[in-house]
Symmetry: C2
């Protein structure tokens, strides 16, 4: 080990297991006596359940349990994140095609599937609400009439669904005097943008193994939210949280679709019935019917002065959140709050709605709430620039928030230098250079309050008697390299070789509370708890060593697995043996990360600001409408890059994933039936879609609350891809697209409608 640990691009702890195929995912686990569970799903998007006959299935040889919603009356059979409104198995009514209606456990999967075919369900179909407009139409059927039961997240405890209008959540944000601003503006821009619902399509579908015996429940599942799952299941079964254990194996892609894994309560109720471990594995097609990113329509009005100064913004956001609340209420809040973008806009009036329909529930998707509004505001920035005859770069530079400037009252001041970031990415992409004929370049800038709202972590560090260490932390390794980074943070604090530090996977039975693995929060926020825990161990080391060496604790310097003071040296092993009088032992420290104080319009101050900037260079085939992306540059500010290769990987990974929603992805419904819910039918980005030139830039602005000034990255880059591409298409063709994805057909139709023209006024010169 040479040089400082922080800032070193170390390989990921999970890398070798994953590339050699040794990594074990939920599907790879077996438990003694384990049986298989399978789920019968509703073929109807909306129906009343008239009757279910499970007798034949129950009699089928090898079947150990058959359950329907009616069998769950001795527990609280609802779960859900913001609101517990989703039954484990449908109760009286189904609200989307694919909703679980019955579950079977049997000695093997084929027997379970055979048993499903022997269950008869009689449905009385109800009118289908296909989209937001149908949901809000007068006289529309109402999907939810009962009150929400409780919530896992205190920040959404104020949700008051407007049950007479299928509104899951309505968020308002208002400041200044928007009416006056719009009245005094030189120009008012009023544009509407749409985006379809999409699915995360992790390579590993959802699944869980549950073992419910006596007063204990253990669940193995690849979740980003082990502690929220613990709480949900403890409340469902009336168990103390100490008796519910959620163990997280390796995870094959998350991106927001692995929060409360619905396979887990199904496996749990089956295991409770059978008395043995039950595995419920969803297929990829079932997973696609479990969660999604909402479809959205964003109307955005901006009041602008002739010199390009933005003075007012109105927003009206409608998000189709599907059949159940899931995270819909939180996404609508975030979208509403973030529609300001990274700009100084004094007068704001926003209404944001999450609306129930008979489609797959919408929840978290990488960057949630921000891709929706950034698509709108960054597209509109180029519309404004074109109209004013300004360079889009200059328009942005004029309005970008400065470092330490306030985003909104009660929130954390901006902790990145956006001007520097925009200049850097523009330079990198050659913004001011002469471009080949037909090429267009587009920019987009985004900012999001990062780390999650009202968010907390705890961690424990154990220093062993041979000077190696274990970090007990509960962040799921979802491919982001969190275990390596947390190990680096602890290693740095304890002057240890990172190879001697092991970081645990989450297991709520033993590893300490971490709110969730989301919102780019682990490195900085959980990292803070890890750093504090390690610092407490270091404090003990210094105290023991100081006494041993006859110097003050302050004089003891940690160095290469030992302490040096006054020319003397003790290894950590010697220090531990001294403290424990040669009996062996370990030194233990714990750390807490608590939410920032202060109240913004969301109910809690941001932990940090995550920025994302993207720049694209494209050409467009006027015959086919196909966009060719030649170059893409993404920029992020990790505050301090603990593991630069990890930051770059996360940033590029996000941008790569962003190509899908920008160019191809959409969940296509036909009268409430998802028609492309498989990896065959759904178009995901391929390696061949990547541009020739694809780079991630890092600014280490040092503004984060995490160790060494770290803050989060990993979501910023996905947000800007769609508007950067649309702006580049506009620059190349003069055609403005307002609906995602930017399919060749859509581009071709727009080109045909516009007729031949050269790059428009206002596009980059």
């Amino acid at each position: 080990m040479n040089g400082p640990v922080i800032g070193r691009s170390l390989p990921r702890q999970d890398a070798r297991d994953k590339v050699t195929g040794r990594a074990r995912y939920t599907v790879d686990l077996t438990m003694p006596g384990m049986v298989e569970g399978r789920v019968l799903r509703s073929p109807y998007p909306h129906a009343r359940i008239v009757s279910i006959d499970t007798a034949k299935a129950a009699r089928h040889p090898g079947v150990m349990a058959v359950l329907t919603g009616a069998d769950l009356s001795d527990i609280d059979p609802y779960f859900g994140q913001a609101v517990r409104d989703q039954p484990v198995l449908a109760i009286e009514r189904v609200r989307f095609a694919g909703e679980p209606v019955a579950a079977v456990a049997a000695v093997d999967a084929l027997t379970a599937e055979e048993a499903l075919r022997r269950i008869s369900v009689e449905y009385a179909p109800l009118p289908v609400i296909r989209n937001v407009d149908e949901a809000l139409a007068p006289g529309a059927p109402q999907l939810h009439v009962d009150r929400p039961r409780s919530t896992l997240f205190p920040d959404v405890q104020d949700i008051k669904p407007d049950v007479t209008r299928n509104i899951c959540h309505h968020f308002t944000f208002r400041r200044g005097d928007p009416a006056a601003a719009f009245a005094q503006a030189d120009l008012v821009f009023d544009d509407t943008f749409t985006l379809p619902s999409i699915h995360h399509f992790p390579l590993e579908p959802l699944g869980a193994i549950a073992h419910h015996q006596g007063s204990e429940l253990t669940v193995w599942t690849g979740t980003q939210y082990p502690f929220a799952m613990r709480q949900a299941l403890a409340e469902m079964f009336g168990l103390p949280q100490s008796r519910v254990r959620i163990v997280v194996p390796y995870v094959g892609g998350a991106f927001g679709c692995r929060e409360l894994i619905p396979a887990a309560p199904i496996a749990s109720v089956l295991s409770r019935k059978c008395g043995v471990p039950v595995r419920v594995l969803f297929s990829s097609e079932e997973t696609a019917r479990t969660s999604s990113r909402n479809a959205g329509r964003v109307r955005i009005e901006t009041a602008v002065m002739k010199d390009g100064t933005l003075i007012g913004r109105r927003g009206e956001i409608h998000l189709d959140t599907g059949a159940y609340t899931d995270q819909g209420s939180r996404v609508s809040k975030k979208a509403g709050y973030r529609i300001i973008g990274p700009y100084r806009i004094p007068h704001v009036d926003v209404n944001s709605y999450a609306v129930f329909t008979n489609t797959v529930s919408a929840g978290s998707y990488r960057g949630f709430g921000t891709p929706e509004v950034c698509w709108a505001y960054e597209s509109q920035m180029d519309i404004i620039a074109a109209r004013l005859g300004m360079d889009p770069f200059e328009l942005r530079m004029k309005n970008l928030l400065k470092r330490d400037e306030e985003y909104a009252q009660g929130d954390r001041p901006i902790d990145s230098d956006l001007d520097q970031a925009l200049e850097m990415i523009a330079k990198e992409v050659g913004w001011h250079a002469t471009r080949e004929s037909g090429e267009g370049a587009g920019l987009a800038c985004a900012i999001k309050d990062g780390g999650g709202t009202r968010t907390s972590s705890t961690a424990i560090v154990r220093l062993h008697q041979d000077g190696s260490a274990t970090v007990l932390a509960s962040s799921a390794e979802i491919g982001q390299g969190v275990q390596s980074v947390l190990g680096q943070i602890a290693a740095a604090e304890l002057a240890l070789d990172p190879a001697r530090v092991t970081v645990t996977a989450p297991d709520t039975g033993v590893t300490p509370f971490d709110q969730r693995t989301n919102a780019s929060r682990a490195t900085s926020l959980l990292g803070h708890a890890v750093q504090e825990a390690a610092a407490r161990v270091a404090e003990q080391i210094r105290a023991i060593a100081g006494e041993a060496l006859g110097v003050s604790a302050e004089a003891c310097r940690l160095e290469s697995g030992g302490v040096t003071a006054n020319g003397q040296r003790l290894t950590f092993g010697q220090i531990i043996q001294r403290f424990f009088r040669d009996a062996g032992g370990e030194l233990i420290g714990h750390g807490y990360q608590r939410p920032a104080t202060g109240l913004n319009a969301l109910g809690a101050t941001a932990s940090f600001w995550e920025i994302g900037l993207g720049a694209a260079v494209v050409t467009v085939d006027r015959e086919t409408g196909a966009i060719t992306l030649h170059r893409y540059v993404s920029l992020s500010d990790p505050g301090r890059a603990i593991n630069p290769a990890g930051v770059e990987g996360q940033d590029l990974g996000g941008a790569m994933q962003g190509l899908g929603p920008a160019l191809f992805e959409a969940m296509v419904y036909d009268d409430g039936q998802l028609v492309n819910g498989s990896m065959i039918d759904y178009r995901l980005p391929l390696f061949s879609d990547l541009p020739q030139s694809f780079d991630a830039l890092i600014i280490e602005g040092g503004g984060g609350p995490g160790p060494h000034g770290a803050k989060g990255v990993a979501e910023g880059s996905i947000i800007t891809v769609a508007p950067a591409l649309a702006n580049a298409v506009f620059a190349a063709t003069g055609v403005r697209l307002r609906d995602l994805p930017l399919t060749p057909e859509r581009v071709w139709r727009a080109l045909r409608e516009a007729g031949p023209k050269s790059p428009p006024t206002g596009a980059r010169r």
Copy 2:
């Protein structure tokens, strides 16, 4: 929950799992891809390995690995407790019949066993050392000529085997002027007692599953010593301790035979070779060839004044420790130090030897070192009483150490009231009552320095947001109910319902250091660490609640899962939510238990004194020599009985187990071959052996270092059974037996030799 938690007889946490058959032991576990390992063992008690041909076995279909000692040159292939002198697989030489010589991993057990038969080993037999006398005879072959490598236990780092005389360890303890004492004594008693080697015969044989991949090793095994195993395997494979994970499932009986499970390194080297998890399960017969309690010969000389005052003791102890050191050196130290017994004897001279022979290695067995010498000193006490014409009760009362008196220089003062204990048990057994004709009653008193020498523990307590708690502690649940007791300790400290506290099983990857589950140490010593950890959580609770309620922390009283102060109340859940600003979280505390300071002759002061008293009433069938035990009373002092039912169960369990070595048990060797190493051939105590009347008395003397004054029990009761029975036989028949076990044949021969007589002078009147 009503009344105080401490002192309540709660059911054991593991009880329901065990009685319903739900408990999973090592044999019940499966791992994805797991294969089976089996071991080829030496048929010779002593031989040179000339050659091993594994080629045929390696070619056998389904075989994944074949290993011999020669294949382990890239690791440090030795393990062992006090000294690492035992090869994982024999290297060049075998030293006992049953020593592992080769190991095979194969797709299933039958294939592995078939492969074993295809391994050809050529041995050159060497002369067999059958017992201590042969080992010490001039010209005896030397079993160990190389220096010990290192040791896991610092207190035995001074072991200097006398390699020219097969001496594993020689312990000396001398104080006062023994020569003068023996010169001035009115009477000198010189007696020799023997006891054979015995085996623990746990219902669950030894076994382990190991998964060695990359730089990580995980082992599942029912061990009492997870952290010593971690260290042993880390050193063997050159891994940081943080990368070696020992997970302890349920354990089917331990009694000292589950320390460094030799199945584990064998499974580990096989897994390292195969790349998949390997399970190695020993049969009960193989387990019987893995560890034992040493055979012993104790010559004890006591200098006595006419009034019964003991003034001097000499001891010469020879323990047959078998082929490898195991714990032999430590047992010989303990035996030597403890030969004083619970009596005031100012002048002492003891030599205690552990001696190598070609038999199964001897290690820990419940109470180690004490049953050997207590058998001698308590038998001799009755010989002395008979000679002096004193009541054995009075002789003991005269010499018993008083509370707070010194046992030996540098050691902890006596922390029990032995006088009170002896009076209590005598009263209970009706010592001073007139007895039926032919009945004899016997007493025995023992004391041992408890808790282990130089011993340490750590613990972590996590208080969850619903007010339930988890105790992370690494004591193996070996049937003693440790998890329940630790839960009670934490619950009491936090004013929680014990049903809301969960205590983990050991998993060195996550649960904190505990030196070992032995020496009756868990309740008091690990319990102290748990109590301290819980107290640190309580401290945080009071600080947060005090701030919230506007009172001082000191004013906050913990009560029924919450805090009450000034007529206001907050639940722990509310307190945690307040601290974490509604984001969820948990409060964490850690605790350390460090060894007592001070140095006795063993190198470290006792943690506490464990006492054990036994009283037996028997009749003897003069025709057959069969002893009928009518009544047995055992007495222990747990300091404070945290869980009285648990204390009673442990005490009775020990006494019950003690019936075996007293009456039937012996490992029988024929020229180095164990001939009764199976449950069929070896006579263990049965329920039908229990006396009609069988009671445990508890004195709560409050003298322990543990929570609420607790100290350890569970070994005291096994120690006194043999001498109490032999003394009762003497009282009934006038026959003094000096060799264990007290078989009918042995009693019959002694009766025949003595001829008919009535109860002798000096026996109870």
